[in-house]
Subunit: 332 residues, 4 copies
């Protein structure tokens, strides 16, 4: 065994994290590296809580949601004392490379650790929110879209049956990726997301006008609005109330919530997770550290960890244009 690698998952869990762990373990075995997994995110690193990983343990794992290494928040790790402790623990186990699968908070932690530890630190983007700079998609994003979209497909059945207005809140923290993709793929009639949102009353006006225009064509229509979480002042119930008043129609709110974090990863997430995981292991003997492995325009890229939270990441322009066209540009 020429090298020893450690992996951990941190931050919100995302479908495909297990697929990524599997790829890392198998690639390490092929390269004859030892591989361990720290449990409960950075807490495991601080408490030297880990397990040996091998082929058998990751068999039949690619399709499972969640993370077998568990995840957790860890405030202590953010301190210099925490990072030093972590560095000591890594050295104690003779770890050459630490691979962190997580979101921007996890990468900040990894970057901070780099100041106290001389080993190789690699990040892999795992979050359903896709709010990580330097990579087109993150592990878990595709599955979250699929979960949101199949849920909205079900809501549309009822919306059509009753010709009613539904308001569906999807996750996404402070980015509109999930809302935009879910809205476009579910043929939502309107989408409200951070990057395109101006003022509540402008939005209310646009929705009402578009709805009125559509009702001129037919009395019997359903209407689905996709809303990004944490965006509307007072929350989804507030928006539902305002819309009910403005449109004189019943408006039903649906909050998709934590269902969006779990589930068996779709193929795209499994493939992304597997490619990035295997690539990370191929870097173990290379002189590179403090980077996240991502994918841009179909190419694997190595991005300095800092860029993952400093770089602003815009929505896909063509998708925005398309959504506006279908919503009717006048009201978008």
């Amino acid at each position: 065994m020429t090298k020893k690698v450690a992996v951990l998952t941190s931050g919100g869990d995302a479908p495909g994290m297990n697929a990524c762990i599997r790829a890392i373990v198998l690639a390490c075995e092929r390269a004859d590296y030892a591989i361990i997994g720290y449990q409960h995110g950075y807490n495991g690193l601080l408490n030297q809580e880990y397990c040996l990983l091998n082929n058998n343990q990751v068999h039949n794992l690619i399709q499972r949601g969640g993370t077998v290494l568990h995840s957790a928040r860890c405030h202590e790790f953010k301190t210099d004392e925490g990072a030093k402790k972590a560095a000591e623990n890594l050295d104690e186990l003779d770890i050459d490379t630490l691979i962190v699968i997580g979101g921007d908070g996890s990468f900040k932690g990894a970057d901070h650790l780099s100041a106290f530890w001389s080993g190789q630190v690699l990040g892999l983007p795992g979050t359903i929110d896709n709010d990580i700079g330097g990579t087109d998609a993150t592990i878990g994003f595709y599955t979250a879209i699929e979960t949101a979209v199949t849920s909205i497909d079900k809501v549309r059945d009822t919306a059509d049956a009753f010709e009613r207005i539904f308001l569906v809140e999807v996750m996404g923290r402070h980015a509109g990726f999930l809302a935009l993709h879910a809205a476009l793929a579910s043929s939502a009639d309107y989408v409200i997301l951070p990057e395109l949102f101006e003022k509540p009353d402008v939005t209310l006006e646009c929705i009402t006008e578009q709805l009125n225009e559509r009702r001129k064509q037919s009395d019997h229509i359903s209407y689905i609005i996709v809303l990004a979480e944490k965006l509307w002042p007072g929350g989804i119930d507030n928006l539902a109330k305002a819309l009910t008043e403005k449109t004189q129609s019943e408006v039903r709110p649906v909050i998709l919530g934590h269902v969006q974090r779990g589930g068996s990863p779709v193929s795209e997430d499994r493939i992304l997770a597997t490619k990035l995981g295997a690539y990370a292991v191929s870097l173990v003997t290379k002189n590179v550290s403090g980077v996240m492995i991502g994918e841009r325009a179909g190419q694997i890229v190595e991005v300095p960890l800092k860029l993952t939270w400093e770089e602003s990441k815009p929505l896909d322009k063509q998708m925005v244009t398309t959504m506006k066209t279908l919503m009717n540009e006048r009201y978008a």
Copy 2:
């Protein structure tokens, strides 16, 4: 054409209503009966709003959620004037048989109509709540279970990853069928439903004790509670807050909501819908009216409409026993 049949869907939509419409239309064609569909529930009956139905229109329909005939509430129909108007409309079109697919509210309407119309009135149980007497299952119930269970499967991924407590609210109006089936099939740790619920503080005590007992075995456990809607005083957020205080742990609420009403029906709902629909058509020449067609112990039954809301319908005893055993009887 010796006979003329009309069908409508009323009340909350349920997966399998379309499968039922299809079976009725095909069975009518085979028997050489004319068949029309009233739209928007009883509203269509009052406004003579209907469409002719045939083989082509119901092709590729069996797997679609919602109802192509649409549904709606109709207060006017509950009045004697409404029922008389409906009777006149049915006679105007020479309808011999009216088939109503819906829940107990729809059956009350159908029963009321019987007092003013001499034609044949047949009910078919369509609701995800399964709260209809005289039949073991209702069309849509199986799909709603499946939707709830696959959602809870996803929640469990995150619950396990973070070893956290989740509270999942499922539909069911005033009956615990959906909560019990979903809890058992999703391996929930606890279930709170009308038929088994005593006092909030007793329930809080039971959950806490069971949780403490399980934590003696391991610090790292997840815990999922399934809650029937409209049951907990102050709602799910209230329960989440109370549990957080009592267990000193984060508790995350998830409301499955309207997602449970839609979706492609699972096979069991398609089969039930098809059997009941075809059987209803086989009664068109028989001297029977004012009944719901249901299934009990694997046999098709004809039940007076009144029984469907008067008869109390208990939970499956063996399922209750099983759930209590797995929850640990002491705390159930």
Copy 3:
């Protein structure tokens, strides 16, 4: 620990076997019984290959397909020497109760063992074929229907797009349960299954006549035939060829195959598995042995093992009637 229970899975794997193992383990823990699992079916019993089972091992197991105890064929076990060896092994471990989850072949083995072992032997019906007497459904049957039906839903998309004839072969050994349920739930136009099959040329004639009749209404129709495996002389390709000649149309064969055995169990299978598993454990202190636990007309029943293969089990009459009606009785 007052009692010691062993469980094994035998015969073809079926979705829900893991859910059943989980229920048995949890019910044993609640009753304070020890519980072990023999691996690789009866082979494990012969080779004393087993594992201790507890709560942790069956966590998050309810939704997984296959069987964590593995399964395998075992010819040696059918001999008297094999059964004696098994009895000795069971006694060596002080087993009070052996629970076998499997099909009729597995039950024959269990029954044979009873002649050589004085402990309690209980069977639980686990097979996708539903060809077990004494129970309305078997663990795995509902999931296999769902898998077949969602596959046929996909085939129908292409059949409709090209207005083409498709022939879909489903599993079922020598019984037509899966074929009948899958055909009815997928709105197949025709079904060929052992219980309703007379002669190949009669069937060919019926299909052709029905097809011609439907083509009188429209040139543009798709047509789907569900075929039970091992039924048509020369196999599905032979039937496809014969149909092509007779109908002068392209006929595409699809063999669903082993896909039907796996997958996450649907709720109905999880519930059945859980009820039967928990009930089996409740019998551990009762004076009953050599029985299978099944469910009939919604009630749990205990059935002598012999009946499970001796009793003939008919198709659901109402389903047969319904299928014939929808296929058009003249050609059924």
Copy 4:
């Protein structure tokens, strides 16, 4: 109405074709263009068989598999007479733009038509095979991967339960895209596809060596091989037989077949279809014709139709590298 657009679907149907039709219809309505749909591929164009399309007809269509415009082969269209007739028909209806959704055969037809018709001809890539130059993905490809992968997930349950070798044949005509993606995403142990295939005996040797190596670690392993269709001399049964002999183990073949063509499109296909469809309509007033609209490295591109079949399209290099690493390079 300043412009008039016609759309048709041709070649093998693919999930997302309906989503594409919907986007085209809505974008045309927004731009105030008239829009018609030719039915049955190029046959409709030759027979002037078409329907007017509008908002209502494409409501609730985005999630449906197949194509509502139907598809079909059309030999007559390949002749000069056929193309001339088509051109006349298009002029008769005053069509400005013809949009063809299909594969390379369909694009050859569209290109041929361009020689006889002065209107605008646009192609959109719709095929599950992804064998179209000039675009990274084709509409339907993502869904076909997902269908194959969820099927192989089910096969793995049985493979694991019995520790058996399974051989799964996926579609893909003469390209290995589907095989490679499905193999990587389903954690297959080996993949056989056109781009990486040398000689049958080399492959047999590699599989056997890899299998033997893995069996040194454990007797109890399952092993899944993904095979591209039409590749192995004598077909999958031949390979199964050869493997059985060579490995002295049972090998079960599974042919996924036509199931892979249908089904509700996954989000990625819906999004691609919607973007490309809306973009095509945005070209209606532009001076460009004889191109396919595709997506490369996240950017919409316009590619001369000829390139779509002349340009060779390689597999994703990183995926090939990853698959080889995980298969163990020595045997890949």
